[in-house]
Symmetry: C2
Subunit: 251 residues, 2 copies
């Protein structure tokens, strides 16, 4: 469903391995692109370590502020996987072995010839009231409770889980965008660009310097809006401004 | 200088372009590796949009919790670069044109044949009491105020700024680590690994599943500690456990 009020989201990445540098996160950028495509505004990301107090505090701060919170990491079978108990604690609900999850894991164990041991049973613990999020890659499910969607940290598994939940998410009016290559230094157009941004309050104008193919300083301008007409107006103003500035600089 | 108490850090990434997915962050992983090498514990990362209230709130939360806060992004010449005013607001100090920064920018403008206009003057605004952080790549400096170090978002510039401040940072006893390839499924060793983690409280043991060269499920175990002896003890326990489990599984 699509709503006219903005739908917002936050991502909570859980894991020592990201903070130590051992693993380079690939999930933040992927979820950012995914949310933009859905018309959901990703407003904040946090990365915290495998520490109960840190996870619970971040979860409670984010879930009370945004429409959805997506977590990645910490739902495996080992002692450092503590996301499920932290979510249960944040919601104040018991963490139970979930019969649906047990069935999935037992079927998987039978198929792979592995044992349904204590470690694998850890992965069947779901906070009471949570719905499972299917994992087509490796079996062990994520879950969805309240406005919090708990996913694996392994990118391929996370991507599959996001595909499962996406059709069920509320979405807003999509943000559309236009890029304009300035062929000018950011410092030469900053003041005029700021005036355009002020005059077009229903658009968001971003300025991103880059080094171009000639090795010189250049700037990409990105204009975003939920309204195509207002986007076009702001883009026209930006293009007119660039023309004027370039004429002045080459005088 | 090196201290025996842990030295901690947080990273605050500022920028709509990261949250929209347009730009993929490369700074978090770089700073994580850098902090680990210095013996500083990176404890938290946040990504927020170009929004004053969000930036000020995140800055105040992080700077009151960790030894250092490193920010990236939002110090360019355009209207969407609002990091300097947000830092000034968080610290409750005026934001002035800094004569040292003006001199750097004026010299650079003379060299590049550009104008010292209003936009470029924006980049000379430094919260009162802040020290400059030199930018050997493109001139416009970052700054350091209290325990907050403000750097550019462009990776090459951020990296140069980090090199400038690194020698001045307090550092802790370095965390050392050993990796052990388990050649076992995470689910087959989880319980035993948890017992080892509990019995070796001065180490941090992480378990990271991966798909190995034969296409099968495998696990890397990483043991970290500030004490080489305790690290060696935990590693030996992990290796003995793996031997026992593998003997059981192949019985």
């Amino acid at each position: 469903m699509s709503s006219s009020a903005p739908v917002t989201a936050a991502v909570l990445v859980i894991g020592d391995e990201i903070l130590s540098g051992r693993t380079k996160d690939k999930n933040i950028g992927y979820i950012a692109d995914y949310m933009t495509a859905l018309g959901i505004d990703l407003k904040e990301v946090r990365v915290v370590s495998d520490d109960e107090a840190a996870i619970v505090a971040a979860l409670n701060a984010l879930r009370s502020t945004y429409t959805y919170v997506f977590t990645t990491g910490g739902i495996g079978p080992t002692h450092d996987d503590i996301t499920a108990e932290c979510v249960a604690k944040a919601f104040g609900v018991p963490l139970n072995f979930d019969p649906r999850a047990v069935a999935i894991m037992a079927e998987r164990a039978a198929k792979t010839g592995t044992e349904m041991n204590e470690a694998r049973m850890r992965m069947t613990r779901i906070p009471e009231g949570g719905d499972l999020v299917a994992n087509k890659v490796s079996g062990a499910p994520g879950f969805w409770i309240g406005n919090v969607i708990v996913m694996a940290g392994i990118p391929s598994v996370m991507n599959a889980m996001l595909d499962e939940v996406a059709p069920k998410l509320k979405t807003g009016v999509k943000m559309i965008s236009e890029s304009v290559r300035a062929d000018a230094r950011e410092g030469d157009i900053g003041t005029e660009l700021g005036a355009i941004a002020k005059a077009h309050p229903d658009t968001i104008i971003g300025s991103y310097p880059f080094v171009d193919e000639k090795g010189g300083p250049n700037t990409n301008l990105v204009i975003r809006s939920r309204d195509a007409g207002k986007l076009a107006e702001a883009k026209a103003a930006v293009e007119a401004m660039l023309k004027t500035i370039k004429a002045q600089l080459t005088r």
